[in-house]
Symmetry: C2
Subunit: 214 residues, 2 copies
């Protein structure tokens, strides 16, 4: 079986979800570096040939080309039988948290971290708004995780892997995981799973990773 190919770059937590799932499932995969910071996802060629939504990640499995991290997680979970409950109620709960993550937990923080943490922009009305929204979403997840080890109880699912997308990046932009004790303990549990790696160890394009290549 030829390995999976993942369009990704190191700074993308959306791509990290897919890369982490591949690692946790012990699947062979290779990275196809996407030069996001030089505009590759915004080119007509990328939109035409790779992803009309102009985003990473994109997973290639033979003839299949899948985009949206939630779709990729669901696909890999069904293919491997890992990280997905087999009852309908559990699957609804997984989808509920993946949607919450995409809409509220990750989206505000990812934008804030890009502006403040990666581009070094100053504070303004926009960054204040994003930080307030991100903190509110972190508080929702923290409250939920006070009652269980993982989002769905005592076993990790793709809902956890989705929520973990931007948790391990060092650029926090004022949204600090340790301020949310249950969330911080949960992050430790995910990081203790066999095969776990941090995002900058897993995907190409970060200076630390580039420096390690010959």
């Amino acid at each position: 079986m030829s390995p999976f190919k993942l369009y990704c770059f190191a700074q993308s937590g959306n791509a990290y979800r897919a890369a982490l799932m591949l690692e946790l499932c012990g699947l062979a995969w290779e990275a196809r570096f996407v030069d996001y910071f030089n505009g590759e996802t915004r080119t007509e060629a990328y939109k035409r040939d790779v992803n009309e939504m102009g985003e990473v990640p994109v997973l290639v499995d033979g003839e299949l080309k899948l985009s949206q991290s939630g779709v990729i997680l669901d696909y890999l979970a069904k293919k491997t039988g890992r990280f997905l409950p087999d009852d309908e109620a559990g699957r609804r709960e997984v989808l509920r948290w993946i949607l919450f993550d995409n809409h509220k937990f990750t989206s505000y923080f990812a934008t804030l971290r890009f502006m403040v943490g990666l581009r070094g922009e100053g504070e303004n009305e926009l960054t204040a708004f994003l930080r307030t929204r991100a903190r509110a979403a972190y508080a929702v997840a923290d409250a939920h995780l006070q009652a269980s080890d993982f989002l769905l109880g005592d076993r990790p699912t793709i809902a956890d892997i989705s929520l973990a997308g931007y948790i391990y990046y060092p650029e926090r932009a004022g949204v600090v995981v340790e301020d949310y004790p249950a969330l911080a303990r949960w992050a430790g549990r995910i990081a203790a799973l066999p095969g776990w790696k941090a995002p900058y160890e897993l995907m190409p394009g970060h200076p630390l990773v580039l420096a390690a290549t010959p």
Copy 2:
């Protein structure tokens, strides 16, 4: 069978998706008005008894209580056999668009419309940011819909119903559907489906609806 109960309020396009799906499927349902503008979703009681995420919509079907519009749409589609392809590739495509909608198409516009269209706030860095992001997402959907009548081809699915959440509200905040011709034609096709109603005709809490009650 007792009717479905939907926690909602007129101005919420997230709730409108669920209300529209119930109507298009011809299901009996009753609205449970949520007093969002007086803070009901932010109370501890609401988070404890209705939705820990502090949001509408919430659908009650007997003993089941479901939140996140994407979960509700998926649940009703499976229950009725309507608006969902029965092959795995089609279901992945539906999920892909629902995720894109939650992350990019609706989220930026809904926040912008709330600030500028409902609360009458002035323009600033935040509203400029939200409008730029919303327009980019509208352009992605418009480009896709140039090739087909609905998101998945010639038949509507819950992906279309999700994307339609905020399309029919009169408060546009500078993101005008008519500026995207394929999207505008698609919106007309959805509005022509049997059972379609506009959001302010379908859910309680808007002045126009309140004025119509005795």
